[in-house]
Symmetry: C2
Subunit: 83 residues, 2 copies
DNA sequence: TGTCAATATCCGCTGTAGATCATAAAACAT
DNA sequence: ATGTTTTATGATCTACAGCGGATATTGACA
């Protein structure tokens, strides 16, 4: 997967998608990331207000990373899926 | 610029670099992002604990976006600079 | 070297994320 | 339709980010 995130909503959605692709439950991911299932649910539903540390914990648990790039005209989801 | 961020420290550093490349002061960027110069300073110095909404505000003000990609073996800074 | 601009840091306040644990509601498998 | 699993949400508590404004310190510039 290679997904664009410009808003907290995009980010929550991308994280849920990545988790599902890896066949994990919210509890599975929470355990890997060292946070509570409730926190995973909150972030996937609406990452708004979440702490960046928690986001990085989730990314690490999903074996993902952030690339910061100049804004493009693409819409989220346009990039090639490569999960 | 195309920078990898795997930690909050990477992210703070990338944001500072991007701001300098665009010849902006912390006050300039703060005004564009609708936050305080103090908050910009805090995040650039140590983004740990920052709120994701604030990060997105800064990215938007710098005309940047996040790509979430599978973790690679590269180290931050390895990608081509294209600012 | 002196001045000014930029950045880091100070204080107090408010709102809330995440931890914690549990459970209701929704989704899924049969 | 039923049982199980998964996800969303409830309550309470603590820690602290960001706001608001100011200023000390550091760095850049003339």
């Amino acid at each position: 997967m290679n997904r664009i995130a410009r808003t907290t909503k995009d980010l929550g959605h991308v994280l849920r998608e990545a988790r599902k692709i890896q066949n994990l439950t919210q509890a599975d991911l929470a355990a890997r990331a060292g946070i509570w299932q409730r926190t995973v649910s909150n972030i996937e539903t609406s990452a708004s207000g979440a702490k960046i540390d928690t986001i990085f914990d989730l990314l690490a648990a999903l074996d993902l990373e952030l690339h910061i790039v100049p804004r493009s005209k693409m819409s989220p989801g346009d990039l090639e899926d490569i999960f």
